[in-house]
Amino acid sequence: MRVLEAVDVSGMSRFNPDRRAPLWWGILGLITIESAVVLTFCVSYLYLAAYAETWPPTGKVPPILWPSINLGLLLLSSFTMYLAGQGINRGDKRVLAIGVTTSVLLATVVLVLRSLELMAYEFSWKDHAYGSIVWAISVFHYVHVTSIVVGSAVVAILAWRGYFTRERQIGVVVDTNYWYFVCIAWIPFYLLLYWVPRLYVG
Amino acid sequence: MTTKPAFSVLLMPLFFAVGCNESEVMSLPGDPAKGKMAIAAYGCGSCHAIPGILGANGRTGPPLERIAERTYLAGVLPNTPEQMMRWIRIPEAIDPLTAMPNMDVSVNDARDITAYLYTLK
């Protein structure tokens, strides 16, 4: 059987810092899975709320100021992350390093604030189903913020050492995408934990 | 209540049934097959392990395997068919200290049960 050359790929790019990269799709897969987890948590919350006589059981709505500030900080950190990504797209290593570092610091502030909030919760997860689901969602998201902080800290270290270039930047791309996801995931949780009780009680 | 009469009604055919087995040639007049069923019905197996009876694996009383070969019954009676029937029917009259209850076993049932137990060699 004759074997003929039909396609020559020797001239094609070996770096694929965008949608061509398998890893870009891989992280999209992770985000899809985690979005389904977020959705399931939301459904569980609403299911428990629907069958409860009073929600929250104490009838007291949770405070809303600090969670809103956290939301703002998370969205701001996404913006700085976006700027960092734009920087390396132009090949600007310095903007990348500063941008990622800023985002990590902003998210660290969120972690500190969230820690204080959790300590101020007036109920334990052992008290009632409401306490359980609120704590579970809070800790779920807290762990995610922790993981983007530590993960992006590593990206920041590599960025300061000059590893990333305009071509060699798939690590930044996936880290940025996952960062957006964690920040956006806070929006449904924020609405559920802090606004839905207001609708119920109100 | 209704339980007692119901049981008597159910027991009645037994009397008839025994009638047709008189011709059976055996050392015992009882029918081991009927004895097997009587053992199940009276609940002997809840306290005794009895070979050949489904679910009869109780541990409260002594196991009855090879009972036919034993010398004494309940430690007090010589092991004969007549004594076995007596023990089954009125254990408290033979040994006032026994834990084995009087289960109101009819003569015919006791005979069949005895016949079955003597197959356990």
Partner: protein, 636 residues
């Protein structure tokens, strides 16, 4: 198709040195330490398949022991404690540790070969998924040996599975192992999706993809959307058990029904996750053994996709007796009956393809024909239990046990065994024995029906499932004895295939490249495939590339991939035109290390919550080590 055509089509003559260089590049380390670093998809796929069949064997033995216990009334072989552990383990292992992993394993092995590439998109992740699966399975069976296996049933209903009614480690082990298997299944699913969508041989547009690849794609998407529900529910349960949350505690506002909704939202698609790849196997085998294109390619693809979608709308039909409102439940009756249409379309597309063909009745084909007989019955009883009133009589009885064994063994295991006979020559390089294969099939087919058909009647006669004993007077003894005899015949049938497989590894007839004259790409390479799968990535021009090549006596390939590192071609999603080249990573110990780190966390939390934190940081550090760029940094 827009391929980058080379200037002139020139003949390719390979030099042996270059081929040897390529083989070295893709070489998997051998030996004991090497085993923990292998990442090639064929190694991982083979491991998944072998491990899953070992679990199949073990869980099958548990099933046989249960059948012996039930053979006659009031048996004393197994007490209630042991029996309850056995059926929980049998169900859990068969569903989570056999059926899903084996289907994934076959897909991991075959799909990259079928789409004409050299490995999967994330080779190291693949290895990670396997180790997680292996560790999970070992821990689960370890718990059985220690006498503390889970015993709350494979769907583990709360409150029975709660701390109050199931103290001890059994249910903790169950919850944790489910998480392991979820992680493993999800990594494999993402892996398969990306490989299928981005790494197909140039020219293999979506409408030329082999049907098994379609099935693997649908299976993977279903895993991605179904598994998260059970991740959440098992997390909530383990929190209830370990740190006293109140999700399922009625007195504190918890809801036991939440568990059932979440579990069956996953659990129903789960059944189809197992079934769908089997449907792909059936199409594949039918095409090869009829020796002609299948009728209704598009209809078959659409049916599989439809089954995937609809299966997410059926979960409440597992909950018809829980007292939910009748009207709402009726929707699920209609949805469940609707599955009959895509199933019917598939079955008759296959019958149309078989009609009047010169069929070669080799062993794989026999298992597929066996599938028809069994699966039709299982499907019809499936429609029956979709009726709410009828389901209230047969739900949780042996009727349902019969139904789902018809669906799962008939629908998935029979095609799977057929697929084993079919692909064995490719994987091992030698044929399995045909005579033994036919004996195995007939014994399994007859044994299966003797085992499970009487169970329909037992269920209607009032025998609930999950009872370790029953009284003589119930009148169930004879049929149970029959079922047990059938189970022994079935076991002998499967046993012959096991012996056949082991025998053929060293004694089977050498297979050659394409022993069945099949049309798909996995048969274009040596048997077993070389370390690099394909010397040249093929270019595809129809659904039946190998038959094309035979006819034309020539074939076209891709050139320009380097031999000194692991390069694969990336292609576009729809029409598979080449868009880039990806450099894949090679052997590494870090997937194994990460799996051990994750296991430390997951298993540790059974004993103390602090292991969550420890596990988190262990996994983090192992992932950093895994991904840390080694110098010299790659520049081209």
């Amino acid at each position: 198709m827009t391929l980058h055509k080379a200037a002139e089509q020139r003949d390719i003559i390979d030099s042996p040195e270059e081929t040897a260089h390529l083989a070295r590049t893709w070489y998997s380390p051998r030996g004991f330490p090497g085993w923990f670093t292998q990442v090639n998809q064929r190694m991982i796929g083979k491991r998944f398949i072998i491990t899953a069949f070992i679990f199949f064997l073990l869980a099958g033995i548990l099933g046989l022991l249960m059948r012996l216990q039930l053979a006659a009334p009031e048996q004393q072989l197994l007490g209630p404690e042991l029996y309850n552990q056995f059926f929980t383990m049998h169900g859990t292992v068969m569903m989570f540790f056999f059926a899903i992993p084996v289907m994934e394993g076959v897909a991991i092995y075959i799909v990259p070969l079928m789409v004409g590439t050299r490995d999967m998109a994330f080779p190291r992740l693949n290895a990670f998924g396997y180790y997680v699966y292996l560790i999970g399975g070992i821990v689960l069976f370890g718990s059985l040996l220690l006498g503390m296996a889970p015993n709350a049933g494979w769907f583990n209903y709360v409150p029975l599975a709660g701390k109050l009614y199931s103290p001890g480690y059994g249910v903790d082990v169950w919850t944790t192992m489910i998480t392991f298997i979820e992680v493993s299944a999800l990594t494999a699913a993402v892996e398969l999706i990306v490989t299928i969508l981005r790494m197909r041989a140039p020219g293999m547009s979506l409408n030329r993809m082999p049907l098994f690849v379609w099935a693997a794609l649908v299976m993977s998407f279903m895993i991605v959307f179904a598994m998260p529900a059970v991740i959440v529910s098992s997390t909530l349960l383990i929190l209830d058990r370990l740190v006293d949350t109140q999700f399922f505690i009625v007195e504190s506002g918890g809801e036991p029904l939440l568990w059932q909704h979440l579990f069956w939202y996953f659990g129903h698609p789960e059944v189809y996750i197992i079934l769908v790849p089997a449907l792909g196997m059936i199409s594949t085998i039918i095409i090869t053994f009829t020796g002609r294109p299948i009728f209704g390619y598009t209809a078959l693809v659409l049916s599989v996709v439809a089954i995937g979608f609809v299966s997410f709308g059926l979960w409440v039909h597992h909950m018809f007796t829980t007292g939910l409102p009748q009207l709402g439940m009726s929707f699920f009756t209609a949805a469940s009956a609707m599955i009959a249409i895509p199933s019917g379309v598939q079955i008759f597309c296959w019958i149309a393809s078989l009609w009047g063909a010169k069929i070669r009745f080799h062993t794989p084909m026999l298992w597929v024909l066996g599938f028809f007989a069994i699966f039709v019955i299982g499907g019809l009883t499936g429609v029956m239990v979709a009726s709410i009133p009828f389901d209230t009589q047969v739900h949780d009885t042996f009727f349902v046990v019969a139904h789902f064994h018809y669906v799962l063994i008939g629908g998935a295991v029979f095609p799977l065994i057929g697929a084993v006979y079919y692909w064995w020559p490719k994987i091992i390089g030698r044929m399995m024995n045909e005579t033994a294969g036919k004996w195995s099939f007939w014994l399994a087919f007859i044994g299966f029906n003797i085992t499970f058909f009487p169970m329909h009647q037992l269920g209607l006669e009032g025998m609930p499932r999950r009872i370790y004993t029953y009284a003589d007077e119930m009148g169930w003894g004879d049929l149970n004895m029959l079922a047990t005899i059938g189970a022994l015949v079935l076991a002998v049938g499967f046993g012959i295939t096991l012996v056949n497989a082991i025998w053929s590894v060293s004694r089977g007839r050498p297979a050659g490249t394409n022993p069945w004259n099949a049309p798909t790409l996995e048969w274009a390479t040596e048997s077993p495939p070389a370390s690099y799968n394909f010397r040249h990535i093929p270019v595809v021009e129809s659904r039946w590339p190998l038959w094309d090549w035979q006819r034309q006596d020539e074939r076209r390939v891709v050139t320009g991939l380097r031999n000194d590192r692991r390069e694969v071609v990336l292609t576009s999603v729809l029409d598979a035109s080449p868009v880039g080249v990806q450099v894949l990573p090679g052997p590494s110990i870090w997937p194994f290390a990460s799996a051990v780190a994750a296991s430390t966390g997951f298993i540790g939390i059974i004993f103390h919550p602090i292991f969550f934190v420890i596990g988190f940081f262990l996994v983090f550090f192992s992932l950093v080590a895994w991904f840390w760029p080694r110098r010299p940094w790659r520049n081209d």
